[in-house]
Symmetry: C2
Subunit: 409 residues, 2 copies
């Protein structure tokens, strides 16, 4: 048989994205991705949890889904139910909760049961880039609605719903990240949540609520989740342990009524999420979740202060941002002269990775001078150096920030 | 807001399968699913592995993909590369291996990059039911090719390829489970593998080789994988730790050239498989994989003997089967009078779960009197009781097996 590589070119689906590039390690100054603080990983707590849960129940690893069925490890679902009641004002039982492989699987499952090619969905105009690319791959018609300091704009949402209704279009859902919005880091007020729920009711459009950052509000206090404010099942809620414990664990959850859950389970054919992660998390969280997250919030708050200090020092007034109330990212606006997509490419050459605004918005134009900086993983020192290097690149490429005689001032 | 449940009926995709039923626990006599022997789960080995790997590298859980990139935890990929060289005659490096969430994700990823609605794929006429349902959901045109005691029939495959070529159809791949075929438990000979590779070359159709049961050949010896016999990348190979360590862990692998891998990585948007399982498996397998699997094979061999003994005692000549050379299932043929789909329903009422042949074949008709019995999870005692109960139900419904005066003989 020949050594000439087999030619797959005529066999690949025609609608695939460009091939991936080889991975060459993380850049030195890594301000992208939902990575978290390495020192906050509760290593000894996880060791203790793994040891006790494996000794007690390890033999159940011999069955798919442990002894808990397709919704996931029952003790973890019970922990999530108690946590959501306490932290988010959601009344639900373990039977209303599906453990997912990160909240990303929650996005996929909801899209898979609701969104066919040509369907319309409403999302926040600035939102998680992965939500946009997923919907694009579904062939969805994406309607982006502006956000303000209070989150998704109810006025703009109403206008969009009126416009769609006039054209006979009923969107499949309204996707929102109400608590620590990604990327703006705002927290939607209760009044705004009520207004959006009222619009959901008036137009018959369900709400897809993504609260994967909600544990990271500095104050530890968050408004009631929309899922908790609406008893009729119109809100599908997802959350995650990725931001509160560790992203590499890939464990999230989805809360929905059985009408939706039974449809999701019918297409969920992965034989469950990784059981060891579920078992260890349930054991760890029962003992230590609240204390762990309280400590983590303090560390993250220190890192965002380092980031804001560095931005003020390096960019001065050229970088506009709000002091975030929580989370792992800062949404920054630069002067008109800057194109952050080009900046991102140039910065990467200098070892600095950033998310250009265009990738985090449904409409690339208003994202042109915005960027997202994730601060949870790099140390305060690396944050300072990385921002200095970013400012150098930005000055070289766009003349921003304006430099005095000594460019390293 | 009203308490009337929100009405999703007009919002669900039109092409969804029927909603799932609530899970009510495993049946008492559970002969379905790839569950494994509970006593063989290497609990203390996993505890030791979790402790050492978490203490050494636990902080890397703070980053997506650990420090290993999108292909998965590098030490696990390195273990798999060494294992495949030793056990399967596959020469590859860690960079050719993708860690997947079970081999099921491997099925999905390969389908996602190759199979568009209307495309044709060739699969074994009797095969893993989940492979059939996945392809049906992709909208694939499924061509089932018969298997014999040597696995996929080369003669029948050639006829199918000739027929398709005459109609201008180039199938996207030939899917085969060569080693411990599911459900027939045959092992394809090297000569047959060569014949199938020659057909692959003649017709320009890649081979999708699923060796997820290959570690469970009783003798510990398996033929060289087709991936190892063909240097040009025409074979995409998948495997799994589900059968060798524990199914609930959800860790498998996929071996492919970069042409294919780069396409897969471009659409793989799950942010990686669970890291803790990858880390613990790498640590455990490095120390103890071979010894563990040798012990497991002995236990499974004992269980299939219990199953065959029970079938002979309860069904006599009415149940035909071959003594399998490995694996976790037995493929049984009953007399013409029996419809195993109906038998499966009646048996479930009596607490006995079986896979009817129709669900494990591309063509329901030849599957009508066949069934698959998984034997790895139940104890020998439960196997005996379950088969006795199955025989009772089968006798009641179909008069098979024929009973003498004392039905409990």
């Amino acid at each position: 048989m020949a050594d000439t590589p087999f030619d797959y070119s005529a066999l690949f689906r025609a609608d695939l994205p460009a091939p991936a590039a080889r991975w060459n390690g993380f850049p030195k100054y890594n301000f992208v991705g939902g990575h978290n603080d390495a020192g906050c990983v509760p290593v000894e707590g996880l060791v203790a949890a793994a040891t006790s849960v494996l000794r007690r129940e390890g033999r159940t690893l011999s069955t798919y889904g442990l002894e808990s069925g397709p919704l996931g490890y029952r003790p973890l679902r019970e922990f999530v139910a108690r946590k959501l009641a306490k932290d988010a004002g959601i009344t639900c039982s373990a039977d209303d909760i599906l453990i997912t492989s990160g909240s990303l699987q929650g996005l996929d499952l909801v899209n898979d049961v609701l969104v066919a090619p040509g369907d319309t969905v409403i999302i926040e105009q600035s939102t998680y880039g992965g939500a946009i690319t997923r919907l694009a791959r579904c062939g969805a018609n994406i309607v982006g609605v502006p956000v303000d300091h209070d989150g998704l704009s109810a006025t703009a949402l109403e206008a969009a719903l009126v416009d769609l209704a006039a054209r006979g279009i009923r969107p499949k859902y309204i996707y929102t990240i109400p608590t620590v919005q990604n990327p703006t880091a705002t927290v939607m007020s209760t009044a705004r949540r009520q207004a959006i729920l009222a619009l959901s009711e008036r137009f018959g459009v369900p709400i897809f609520e993504d609260e994967c950052y909600a544990d990271l509000v500095w104050s530890g206090e968050r408004p009631q989740a929309m899922r908790g404010m609406s008893p009729d099942g119109r809100v599908i809620h997802i959350g995650s342990f990725s931001k509160s414990i560790a992203p590499a664990l890939r464990v999230g959850w989805l809360v929905a009524d059985w009408t939706v859950m039974s449809r999701i389970l019918a297409i969920k054919n992965d034989a469950g999420s990784g059981a060891l992660e579920q078992m260890v998390l349930a054991e760890f969280c029962e003992a230590a979740f609240d204390d762990h997250v309280r400590h983590l919030r303090g560390v993250l708050r220190g890192k965002v202060e380092a980031l804001m200090t560095a931005l003020r020092a390096q960019f001065g007034d050229a970088a506009e941002f709000d002091d975030p109330v929580g989370g792992i990212f800062l949404w920054v606006t630069l002067p008109e002269a800057v194109d952050t997509s080009r900046l991102a490419q140039a910065a990467l050459q200098a070892g600095v990775a950033i998310n250009p605004g265009a990738e985090w918005m449904t409409d690339a134009v208003p994202g042109r001078r915005r960027l997202r900086l994730c601060f949870a993983h790099p140390s305060p020192e690396v944050i300072g150096e990385g921002v200095a290097r970013l400012a150098e690149v930005c000055h070289r490429e766009f003349g921003v920030p304006v430099r005095e005689a000594n460019p390293h001032r």
